[in-house]
Amino acid sequence: MSGTMNLLIGLAMGFSLLALASSRLPSVIRAAAFQGMILGTLPLLLEEKFHWLVVAVAIGTITVKGFIIPNLLRRALRAANIDREVEPLIGFVPSLLLGAAAIIGAAALGSELPLRPEHAKTLLVPGSFATVVCGFILLMARTKAISQVCGYLILENGIYLFGLLLINTTPLLVEAGILLDLTVAVFVIGIIVDRIQREFDTLDTRKLTSLRE
C-alpha cells in the first residue's frame, strides 16, 4: 500500500517536472491536471476504512482538478486568443535542473525530519516539499499569466499533499472548502486573463508592474 502511494507521489513529482519542461501552455495545463488527479486518489489509499465522505472528497478533487479547472484555463486560453508558446524567464533546462535539485533536496530533508513512524516510510513529506518548490519555480520563471496559474495549481497540490498528513484530524469539509476556493480563484483568473489581454494586448505579467492612468 505504501508502495503504491510512493509510486503515485513519484509520478506526481514527475508531472511537476514535465510542467517545468514543456514549452506549450496546453501541455503545462495538462501536467498540472494529471498531477491533481493523481493526488486526488491518495485519500482513498491513506484511509483504511471505507468512508463515504472520503470517497466524495476524492471524486470531487479529481473532477475539479482534473476536469473543471483545466477546462476553465483552456477556455480562457481560447477566449483571450493568445499564442501557446510558454515564455520562460529561466530557460527550460535550468528550470528542469532546479526542479530536480528541489526533489533531491526534499528527499534529503524528508529523511532528516522527525516524522511519525507511519509517515516516515512514505514520500508524502518529500513529495509535498518538492511539489511546492516546483510550483514556485513555475510561478517565478514564466511570464504568461496562464502558466503562472498552473504554477499556483502545482503549489496548491503540494500543500494538499502536506495536508494529507493530517487527514485523520482535519475535517474533510476543510478540504472541500479549499477545493471550492481554488475553483473560484481559477474562475476569477480566467476572467482576469481575458481582461488583461484586452487591456494590454499581451499576457506578459512583466508589463503589469508599471502603473498608468
Partner: protein, 302 residues
C-alpha cells in the same frame, strides 16, 4: 586454452552479430512506412563492398585520418569485451572496469573526432562540434547510470554490477539509458542516420571524407556501439546474472531484438528535434538516471 577459446567466441559473436541490428531497425522502419526496405543483411554487403575498395585520401590529411577509425574500432571492441554475458561473466573483469568502459567509449569518440578534424574541412569541424557537445550531456547520463548500478550492487566491476536487476528504479534507468542509446548512436530524435542534408547532419558529417576500409571500420564500429548499448540497457534492467546461461542468452537476444524494434518505431514515429531542443531531451535522460540513483540510494530505507 579455454580462456582463449572463450574470448574468440565472444569476439566472433560481437563482430558478426553487430551489423544485424541496423538491418533490423531499417526493416522495422520500412515495415511501418509500408515499404519493402533493404534486406536485413544490407550492412554486411556494404561492409564487404567497402572493404574491397581503395582508400581515397586528400593531400591535407595526416596518418591520423586512417589510424583514427581503426583505433576507435579497437576501443569499442575492447569495451564490448568488458560487458558480461549473463552468468558467464565478462572475458576480462577487474575492480573498476566500469570506469574503463566509459573511458574506452570516450576514447573511441575522440579518435573519430580527430580523424574528422584531420581533413581540415570546416564542414566536418561543425559536425564534430555538435557531436562533442551532445556527448558531454550524454556522458553525464551514462556515468550517472553506472553510478546507480554501483550503489545498487555495491561493486565497481561491470560483471557484478550488471548481474542483478536495477531494483525499484529499473524503469527510470531503462528510460534514461534508452535516451542515451539514441543520442550516442546518432538516432532520431537526436540525429538522423539517413540524412545527408548539410545543415542537419551530425555523425554523417564526420565520416563524409572517409572511404574504403576506414569507412567500413567506422560503420562496423557504429553498429557495434549500438549493440553494446542495447546489451548494456538489457543487462542493467534484467537480472540476467541470476538465470542459467542458455536462458540468459535467450533473454538477451530477445530483449536486444525488442530494443531494435523500439528504436525502429521511435525513428518512424518521431520527427527529429530542433537543435535547441536536444539539450532538454538529454537533460531529461540524465534526470531519469539521476532519479534512478536517488531511488537506489534512498530505496533501501523507504
Amino acid at each position: 586454452m579455454i580462456v582463449a577459446l572463450d574470448i574468440i567466441l565472444r569476439l566472433a559473436a560481437w563482430l558478426l552479430l553487430a551489423p544485424l541490428l541496423p538491418g533490423i531497425i531499417n526493416k522495422v522502419k520500412a515495415w511501418v512506412a509500408g515499404r519493402r526496405g533493404p534486406p536485413v543483411l544490407q550492412l554486411y554487403f556494404d561492409l564487404a563492398k567497402l572493404w574491397r575498395k581503395s582508400v581515397v585520401l586528400s593531400t591535407a590529411v595526416s596518418p591520423a585520418h586512417v589510424a583514427g577509425p581503426a583505433a576507435a574500432w579497437i576501443a569499442i571492441i575492447t569495451a564490448a569485451l568488458l560487458l558480461p554475458v549473463g552468468p558467464a561473466g565478462a572475458s576480462c573483469s577487474f575492480r573498476g572496469d566500469a570506469l574503463l568502459f566509459v573511458y574506452l567509449l570516450a576514447f573511441a569518440r575522440f579518435c573519430i573526432v580527430l580523424a574528422a578534424l584531420d581533413t581540415g574541412s570546416a564542414f566536418e569541424g561543425m559536425g564534430v562540434a555538435r557531436e562533442v557537445s551532445y556527448a558531454v550531456l550524454a556522458e553525464a547520463a551514462i556515468i550517472t547510470a553506472l553510478l546507480t548500478l554501483c550503489v545498487q550492487s555495491g561493486s565497481v566491476s561491470l560483471a557484478t554490477m550488471l548481474a542483478p536487476s536495477a531494483g525499484a528504479g529499473a524503469a527510470l534507468l531503462a528510460a534514461g539509458l534508452f535516451g542515451v542509446l539514441l543520442a550516442e548512436n546518432c538516432r532520431v530524435p537526436f540525429d538522423d542516420p539517413n540524412t545527408h542534408l548539410e545543415l542537419t547532419m551530425i555523425h554523417e558529417v564526420m565520416v563524409l571524407d572517409h572511404s574504403g576500409p576506414p569507412l567500413a571500420a567506422i560503420l562496423h564500429g557504429a553498429s557495434l556501439k549500438l549493440l553494446l548499448f542495447a546489451v548494456l540497457l538489457t543487462e542493467a534492467v534484467l537480472p540476467l546474472g541470476k538465470l542459467s546461461l542458455l536462458q540468459a542468452i535467450g533473454a538477451l537476444v530477445a530483449s536486444v531484438f525488442v530494443v531494435a524494434i523500439a528504436i525502429g518505431l521511435v525513428e518512424s514515429l518521431l520527427a527529429r528535434l530542433a537543435f535547441r531542443r536536444v539539450p532538454l531531451l538529454l537533460t531529461t535522460a540524465f534526470l531519469f538516471c539521476l532519479f534512478a540513483l536517488l531511488v537506489a540510494w534512498k530505496g533501501g530505507r523507504l
